[in-house]
Subunit: 243 residues, 2 copies
Amino acid sequence: MSSGTDIPSDDENTRIGWTEAAADPAYRDAVLELLGALAYGELSAFERLAEDARDAPDLTAKAEIAAHAAAEFGHFAVLRGRLAELDADVTEAMRPFAAPLDEFHRRTAPSSWLESLVKAFVGDAIATDFYREIARRLDDDTRGLVLATLGDTGHAEFAADRICAAIEEDPRQAGRLALWGRRLMGEALSQAQRVVADHDALAAVLAGGAGTAEGLDLAELGRLFARITEAHARRMQRLGLQP
Amino acid sequence: MSSGTDIPSDDENTRIGWTEAAADPAYRDAVLELLGALAYGELSAFERLAEDARDAPDLTAKAEIAAHAAAEFGHFAVLRGRLAELDADVTEAMRPFAAPLDEFHRRTAPSSWLESLVKAFVGDAIATDFYREIARRLDDDTRGLVLATLGDTGHAEFAADRICAAIEEDPRQAGRLALWGRRLMGEALSQAQRVVADHDALAAVLAGGAGTAEGLDLAELGRLFARITEAHARRMQRLGLQP
């Protein structure tokens, strides 16, 4: 994952550490699921960026994108290490999330270099925002780890610069890319809903958080999606695209 | 690059450091060319392994191969760093080597997962052997750097294990893979000759070495190719393949 975000990541909800929180087996299961989902996301981001590096129009871009891919792999390695500490196997933890994420990528296969840049910029940011929202509900230790793996690899700025330059050169691109951005948002929400629907433990954390009875009511869920949608709109505008 | 090797890499030819050697502008140019060739080789190895990770038959293999790809990128970053120290741009240094290496990969595109493993095991080892031979003729500083970037990423052992298991399961694979190994060797030698023919400065280092009049005579050149060919044969035998 990469890309800046406008979702708050401060520690307003700082409450308890992993040991205390994991005394609840349901919470422990949810965190293993979350780490598995994130791990597959990073591995998948690595693969996609490696493909973008292969298709890059020049050697400078190729080397830069390859660096971002390697950084995503570094995030994956952190998650795999944490899963090993928790006696969980990364392959098993990732397995349930491979199909929905692969499906997202199949449904949003870029048809051009520019579309792949927008996908990297906008798509990863949506995922990052979503995970940041979940992170706020986690124990302190897991939250720190998750936020570290969501750190920007520098790809967002690289992609935004290239996209803005391309639109400046050929303003007719803007309409098509705006549609593309909306499609990415729609597919991302659709797959996120599928993941939450299929993973009760994960959904419970999203709804409740670590070791608290503090529930996520429907109004709060609405605000969550509103924040993600607004952050997406601001990013599209930053690219000069109609959200 | 990866893979173990039987080519001697000891410091029998240790003579001088970079500062002294680089007083000769032709030697300096040759090293910049060499670092450029290696850098593109690493970037290319990164890309190819990332593709292998994408096509891996299971999530465990995917994660492991992605790790090897990221390690190759680490080698690339070392070479880019050294080029920057020498006030050279990695993109410019790599440019002349992109075509022959891309051509090698086009001519040896694996048609199966097993062929891609053999290519990774055998092909990278040939390149590594070739660069180790060159390294023996370099100044101490450059040699140390080059040998470090030729370090095994763990991919050779991974690939060899999987290949041996596949042949054990279906011994009929052995004949086809043996042919594939010979084809890889032929294409590698052909592209290596092209690179040497097109790069006089590099050829001069291969022939002469850093800051010495010690020439590489034809008999020594013959022994060099014999060593590379023999090392290749031993690797094929290790896989249970007719060299």
